[in-house]
């Protein structure tokens, strides 16, 4: 054992420091066990939860967890009736798994044979099975020597008092789940993103679904008795939802979800070891919730900040394009695109506010696209501005023509904000449209081709 290093200027070791040191150095056997078990569960749940989230079935874990209760109680009753000890863990786990599977079957049954929505089916099975569970538990409590203390753990868990064998079970199950997830990664990905295609391509979709559900059942049942219902559900839902903000790639997301689950579990166990009054399971959930909040705001892929920045950039670009096109079209009506136009002409062109227009003109002037006379006088495009505006106007008019001639869209619905036609349409069609634009056959509301782009 390493001695605690003395702080400069003080030899006092407070009891809290001692506890902290014991925790950090993992000296406590118990802390090690709980940490290993919780982390393994967190990672496995995060991994499986990723697929659940992408299949829009996050709350399935919730229903499944509640649906195990009648199985646990019934297994206890049956075992007692047959003369065995009801409280043996394997018996209860088998009961839990059986009734969880029955619950899943009931959900599928409701989905198949009625127009009841998915979420309602989940709610029905969850509450009715839990009701049966509560009923049976009240019966178990009345049995001689059958106080339901052991069954209680299935609801709240007993994270802090996990035994070595519990941790071993969790570890083994988590490992198995992780191996299965890696082995079936491609198949599950297909299931998540295009179930119909998977079925048409000859994959056994139903079977794959059952495999995935089985993994969920394993994680839930194993987690239930060790850490409780709330924690299992939370670990299935929150880490994947948080990981979704960081990546669009399934592999990255799955690893991130497992990592967040593991880290939340580690932090939660550490916190509850430091402050023994805090319930470990609940603290783990709160840690995961903090990770979720951070991810939602700062997530690199779909986080709120990143997305609102992108939306802002889009708006700025759109407003500038509106201005350039309006100046160009006004000038074109007068004589040439280089002609200066007045603000009142521009105001008549689009429904915009005078102040917003003035601000936009200033921005365009700063960017070197237009020159503005002082005090809201005339506006003139620079050489660069004319080139840019010409490109925009051309694209726009081609779009309008395309929609008129090729897409059977009512003229009233033609979008005035079309952009980058070359990226979307076939070059052949673009050529055809250019010819149309140059010919006299154009409609009155589509003005002539400003100029062809150099090809």
């Amino acid at each position: 054992m390493k001695p605690w290093p003395n702080f400069p200027g003080g030899e006092v070791r407070s009891a809290e420091m001692e506890t902290f040191w014991r925790l950090i150095s993992l000296q406590d056997h118990n802390t090690r066990i709980v940490l290993a078990g919780a982390c393994a569960l967190g990672a496995a749940a995060g991994l499986v939860g990723t697929f659940l989230l992408l299949r829009k079935r996050s709350l399935l874990g919730d229903t499944l967890g509640h649906a195990t209760l009648p199985g646990v109680a019934a297994a206890f009753l049956v075992a007692e009736a047959l003369g065995y000890a009801g409280k043996s863990l394997p018996v209860l786990l088998v009961g839990a798994a059986l009734s969880g599977v029955t619950g899943m079957a009931a959900v599928i049954l409701i989905r198949k044979f009625s127009h009841i929505k998915d979420d309602a089916a989940l709610a029905i099975v969850l509450s009715v099975f839990f009701g049966a569970g509560v009923t049976l538990v009240t019966a178990v409590q009345q049995l001689p020597g059958g106080n339901a203390a052991g069954l209680d753990h299935f609801i709240y868990g007993k994270t802090a008092s996990m035994t070595t064998s519990d941790a071993m079970v969790i570890f083994g199950a988590s490992l198995a789940v992780a191996v299965m997830c890696v082995a079936f990664f491609k198949e599950f990905a297909l299931l998540c993103f295009d179930e119909g295609f998977a079925g048409a391509a000859g994959w056994p979709v139903r079977l794959l679904d059952v495999v995935l559900m089985t993994l969920v059942v394993v994680v839930t049942v194993v987690g239930l008795q060790a850490v409780g219902l709330l924690l299992v559900v939370a670990l299935l839902v929150i880490p994947p939802a948080a990981a979704r903000f960081w990546s669009d790639r399934l592999g990255v997301m799955a690893v991130a979800a497992a990592g967040i689950g593991l880290l939340s579990a580690a932090l939660g166990v550490a916190a509850s070891a430091l402050f023994p009054r805090l319930p470990a399971g609940a603290v783990i959930v709160l840690c995961a919730a903090v990770f979720f909040a951070i991810s939602m705001i700062f997530g690199a892929r779909r986080g709120v900040l990143v997305r609102s920045y992108g939306e802002r950039q889009g708006m700025v670009r759109l407003r500038r394009e509106h201005l350039l096109r309006a100046i160009y079209e006004c000038a074109e009506e007068l004589s040439s695109p280089e002609q200066a136009v007045s603000v009142s002409q521009l105001l008549a062109k689009r429904p915009w506010k005078r102040n917003a227009l003035r601000r936009e003109i200033e921005h365009a002037a700063e960017a070197g696209l237009a020159t503005a006379a002082v005090d809201g006088g005339d506006v003139q495009l620079t050489g660069r501005g004319v080139a840019e505006a010409r490109r925009l106007v051309r694209n726009h008019r081609l779009w309008e023509l395309y929609l008129l001639h090729h897409a059977e869209v009512a003229p009233a619905r033609i979008d005035r904000d079309a952009d980058l036609i070359e990226h979307v349409l076939d070059p052949k069609i673009v050529d055809e449209l250019e010819a149309l634009l140059d010919s006299g056959r154009r409609e009155t509301f589509v003005p002539g081709n400003p100029e062809k782009l150099p090809t």
Partner: protein
């Protein structure tokens, strides 16, 4: 089995609270918000805990307010995460209610010196002990009846608005009935009903009372007014039948199964949920068979 005055009150209270739950439940179903009941029933825990920590009493009014605010908070937070974060709505709900429930557990544990709040009683509920103060009517029966009256009145007053916002939110908003505000209102009513139901049936079984009668009724009729009536009938039936089964049939059957003759009554609230579930599956089977026959 012997029928006492307590049994009468259990049946009456159970029927009243089930019917009170069934009314907002139908609209939850139509809005595809069924799991909201699940979320709210978990998420009110921190509301109750904070109300206790702030006021230091177990007076019903602060608890009630705390729970309703927490319920509304759940609804709003879920919507924010769903809209701003583009998280699928079920997952958003899961994130919110798990986190809030955990927060509630931590708060209760931290305040354990001063609080006598048992998370177990919130989870299970015990209608048998809730009605013991018979003089001449138990408080919980009054509350349940009052809640039923309020829900019935609100549903009647806003029937047209609730119906249009449930079936066509876009049209409803265009007509000047903002569907989102109707949903928030529904959330508040659901939270209030849930809190009243807590004491008698517990937080999980409330979900059965909210959703199952409405779902059963929706199997039988496409007309909203008929669905509401049927849902309340199913609710009342499963409450009565549930209690009767809990004190007679089930203990006898279990006693025969396990060989312990001395088994007493099992949880009435649990059996009420089971009976509503049985009714649902029975109706589902009947409707399917009836549809098949004419061909």
């Amino acid at each position: 089995m012997t029928w006492t005055e307590i049994d009468t009150w259990i049946v009456v209270t159970g029927a009243l609270i089930s019917m009170a739950c069934a009314v907002p439940g139908v609209f939850l179903l139509l809005n595809k918000q069924s799991m909201l009941g699940d979320a709210i029933s978990h998420a009110v825990l921190p509301g109750i805990a904070i109300a206790f920590l702030v006021t230091g009493t177990r007076e019903p009014l602060p608890m009630f307010l705390g729970a309703v605010i927490a319920g509304l908070f759940t609804g709003v937070l879920t919507e924010v995460i769903h809209r701003r974060g583009r998280v699928e709505s079920g997952a958003a709900l899961g994130v919110v209610f798990c986190s809030l429930f955990a927060l509630g557990l931590v708060l209760i544990r931290l305040a354990a010196d001063r609080v006598d709040l048992d998370p177990g009683c919130v989870l299970y509920g015990a209608i048998e002990t809730a009605v013991v103060d018979v003089n001449p009517v138990p408080q919980i029966a009054w509350l349940s009846g009052g809640m039923l009256a309020v829900n019935f009145l609100l549903a009647g007053m806003f029937y047209k608005e609730l119906r249009i916002s449930a079936f066509d939110p876009a049209l409803s908003t265009a007509c000047g009935i903002p569907a989102r505000w109707m949903q928030h209102g529904l959330t508040v009513v659901t939270a209030m009903t849930t809190v009243v139901a807590f004491e008698s049936v517990g937080s999980i079984l409330v979900i059965a009372m909210l959703i199952v009668p409405g779902a059963t009724a929706l199997l039988l009729s496409p007309r909203l007014s008929v669905v509401l009536g049927l849902a309340m009938a199913v609710a009342a039936f499963s409450a009565v039948a549930g209690h009767v089964a809990a004190i007679s049939v089930i203990p006898a059957a279990l006693a025969k199964l396990t060989g312990f003759a001395a088994l007493g009554a099992v949880s009435s609230a649990g059996m009420m949920a089971v009976l509503s579930g049985l009714t649902f599956f029975l109706v589902l089977a009947t409707v399917r068979l009836a549809q098949r026959r004419p061909q």
